[in-house]
């Protein structure tokens, strides 16, 4: 048994960490947060040059042909740095969908551009309010209809929907089946509207389609079960972004409370504060361990991948919420200022727990998958 990343994978992680420590400080994140910019173009270009967008794409399509474990260690570092780039949309979602189910022609058309970073893709799936209520999973895409290769309706929120070149989009076809389509977002019959959100360091959009041209993904039968698989793998990769963010937030709180004195001693020496950090550590270790198991399940296509993905997701979302909020608390009043970085982690925790579905959605999936397991 070897339940740890290999030395090569840890080397990739160290390289990524050093690179992002230089190129993506919280000032970099704030530059996107404070402006209208959808993402940091310079940082994106450097990430592309390092080959991260090409990592899990086969060599025949211009990629590096590495596996999911390598992508997981990169994800953790992007999460730690709160990187303001459309990596998750383009790599975990759009690239994966086309790589897995796209026709040979679609793979040829999109994968080389995704690998080289010239193309940015995203997933347009949710359509407005709703996750799980009364045991029913909503966001069931009555919002967009497909007919004769044309899509009509509305999707929101779509991460990076304002800057992506295309979206893998879910829609109901004439017989009411959910299907996935590839949709060029730069066509006239697509209207994009930037939406304000709790984490402006990453952009969200509303997309309106009025008879927009779309091609069915793959052979035209790609639907519910493939979408679930896509969201499962993205959930594991996002869990790594979440644990990276957890670690960074916790580290910043520890550093601050060790140096700040009250009543003549370090704030970190009070048990009320120490126990808070102990609870954060526990949540993070559980989340990290579940994420590792998810990484293993993803890389080996294990039978319990769906349960492992949902578990990693629930654990990581709970941990990042806990750690980002208690980090503000441990910082005291300074934690509530714009100047301190605490809010960047808190915002990102909210954002990441919303992407690919919120906690109630994934908790229900854990229950479903656990109870249906033998």
């Amino acid at each position: 048994m070897n339940f740890e990343f290999s030395e090569e994978q840890q080397f990739i992680r160290d390289q990524a960490r050093n690179f992002l420590a230089q190129e993506c400080t919280t000032q970099t994140v704030r530059a996107v947060l404070d402006t209208e910019a959808a993402f940091d173009g310079d940082l994106w270009q450097k990430i592309v040059e390092l080959g991260w967008t090409a990592m899990a794409i086969p060599e025949e399509h211009g990629g590096l042909g590495l596996g999911y474990l390598e992508l997981c260690v990169i994800a953790e570092e992007l999460g730690r740095a709160l990187a303001p780039v459309p990596f998750s949309s383009s790599v975990y979602l759009a690239t994966e969908a086309i790589k897995r189910w796209g026709s040979a022609e679609q793979q040829q058309q999109y994968l080389p551009g995704l690998a080289s970073g010239e193309l940015i893709g995203t997933l347009a799936h949710w359509d407005g309010l709703g996750g799980v209520s009364n045991g029913k999973h909503s966001g069931d895409n009555d919002g967009v209809r497909a007919s004769d290769g044309k899509l009509s309706g509305c999707k929101w929120p779509v991460a990076d929907g304002d800057s992506a070149h295309f979206a893998v989009t879910s829609a109901r076809d004439e017989s009411g089946e959910l299907r996935l389509y590839i949709l060029d977002l730069e066509q006239a019959s697509v209207t994009r509207q930037v939406l304000p959100s709790v984490d402006p360091s990453r952009s969200q959009a509303r997309l309106d389609f009025e008879g927009a041209s779309a091609a069915a993904l793959g052979d035209g039968t790609v639907g519910e079960s493939e979408l679930a698989q896509l969201l499962d793998s993205a959930a594991i990769l996002l869990a790594f972004e979440q644990i990276g963010g957890c670690q960074a937030a916790m580290d910043s709180g520890i550093a601050y409370t060790r140096e700040r004195y009250a009543f003549g001693r370090p704030v970190a020496s009070f048990q009320a504060i120490k126990h808070k950090f102990a609870d954060m550590f526990v949540a993070l270790e559980l989340a990290r361990s579940n994420a590792y198991y998810g990484a293993w399940a993803l890389s080996s296509d294990a039978p319990d991948l769906p349960l492992a993905a949902a578990t990693a997701r629930v654990s990581a979302s709970d941990a990042f919420y806990l750690i980002s909020k208690e980090n503000i608390q441990a910082h005291g009043g300074m934690g509530f200022t714009w100047e301190f970085d605490c809010h960047l982690y808190y915002r990102r925790a909210q954002l990441l727990s919303a992407q690919v579905g919120t906690a109630p959605h994934w908790k229900d999936l854990v229950a479903q998958r656990l109870l249906h397991a033998a």
């Binding site: 048990q271 120490k274 229950a367």
Partner: protein
């Protein structure tokens, strides 16, 4: 990443499995085990002796001390396999898990060869005597005195919360040998023969009505100097070895209550509907499962670290903390779920034969035994995260001058 055994471990696992199939009952075939009295204890000793005769006891101990001379990875394989069976190893965990490693580390060769093989085969049962009425979380504040008497030591004082003392032949006891120096420096660790006139064991009746723990009184009890573990005044170092082993020994077997909860969710109907369909039950199931699965995966990471030559550190406190809290929360949730009938613990009327009602009453003890939740958090904060210690009012003071409060 992979979960494959090496060929040697795979072969070992197969041998373990076939021996267990022949000598133990699968959990799935027997849901409950009656846990009562002398009869259970005799059965447990017989089972452990058979296990030792088959070469499966103390796998990572050297063979001259009664072990199998294998590695800690063999221990892990055994633990993974035995989890599927109902066994009565609980009586021996403290001796073999906590005391054994310290004895191997601190005792003389002659004593090790005399005592360890009998511990390893469960012929002798051991207990651990640290806590005292006035020394719980602050265990180094203990007052049981050990005084030199020629080649012997004379012991006087009282211990408390001693699991299994009523069954024990020997114990590892932490004593004060010098009250004139600071509290950590005046301690000495010994082994003690529990079957002597100066040792009296009295059971404690717990809040749940059970009697798992004991008080132990020493009145001029005698320990030969050859039973000393480590230097005079060096007892705290030895005690830390025992406590660290304890956390490791229990980290794999810490009850969480989750498997019983999952069984309940799979089987129970209330008001004509399966509780598995209830959104509140599903939310709790998912939250606790994600913690339970996280503990299991964290354990695999720890095993990997140990296999690579690292030591399992204070991270083992995590399993204790999470499991103990979850255990109580699950028990309370289930009793609430049953409605007014939730207070009834009749084993014919209550789901899982009253398990959850029993757990409601027993679970507070799990959060205290083997280091309280608060001590676990301090260990994590100070030893893992490196946060500064709370200032101590007794720092640098001679033990005898430390304030003890009104008595």
């Amino acid at each position: 990443m992979d979960f494959e055994d090496t060929p040697e471990l795979a072969d070992f696992r197969a041998r373990v499995r076939s021996w267990l199939d022949a000598n133990a009952v699968r959990r799935t075939d027997q849901l409950f085990m009656s846990m009562e009295g002398e009869e259970a204890f005799r059965e447990a000793k017989a089972w452990y002796k058979a296990k030792a005769d088959a070469g499966f006891a103390c796998l990572s101990w050297p063979s001259e001390y009664g072990g199998a001379g294998l590695t800690s990875l063999h221990d892990v394989v055994w633990a993974q396999e035995v989890e599927n069976y109902r066994t009565r190893d609980g009586y021996f965990v403290i001796g073999i898990g906590n005391c054994g490693p310290a004895i191997q580390h601190f005792s003389t060769e002659d004593v090790k060869r005399e005592l360890l093989p009998r511990m390893a085969s469960a012929e002798d049962v051991w207990c651990q005597l640290f806590s005292e009425p006035s020394a719980g979380s602050d265990v180094a504040g203990l007052r049981t005195r050990a005084e030199r008497d020629g080649d012997n030591w004379k012991i006087n004082g009282q211990k408390i919360w001693t699991s299994g003392a009523q069954y024990s032949d020997y114990g590892v006891v932490l004593t004060r040998t010098d009250p004139d120096v600071s509290k950590y420096r005046g301690l000495t660790l010994f082994m003690i023969d529990m079957r002597q006139p100066g040792v009296e064991v009295r059971p404690i009746k717990q809040m749940d009505g059970g009697q798992h723990f004991n008080e132990v009184y020493f009145q001029d009890a005698i320990i030969p100097d050859s039973y000393r573990l480590g230097e005079v005044g060096g007892g705290w170092t030895g005690a830390l070895t025992v406590l660290m082993s304890e956390r490791l020994a229990i980290s794999g077997i810490q009850p969480t209550g989750f498997p019983q909860f999952l069984d309940l969710v799979r089987s129970l109907e209330l008001n004509g509907e399966p509780i598995a369909d209830d959104p509140i039950v599903r939310e709790r199931l998912a939250t606790w499962y994600s913690q339970y699965a996280g503990l299991q995966a964290a354990n695999k990471r720890m095993i990997t670290a140990v296999a690579k030559g690292g030591v399992a550190g204070a991270e083992a406190s995590l399993g204790k903390l999470v499991g103990a809290v979850m255990n109580q929360e699950i028990a309370n949730f289930c009793c609430q779920l049953f409605g007014p009938a939730g207070i009834v613990s009749d084993e014919n009327l209550s789901p899982e034969r009253g398990h959850f009602q029993h757990a409601v009453l027993f679970s507070p003890g799990v959060r205290l035994a083997g280091g309280t939740d608060e001590v676990m958090r301090n260990i994590i904060a100070e030893q893992v995260l490196g946060l500064p210690q709370e200032p101590r009012a007794d720092k640098g003071m001679a033990f005898k001058d430390i304030p003890t409060g009104p008595s």
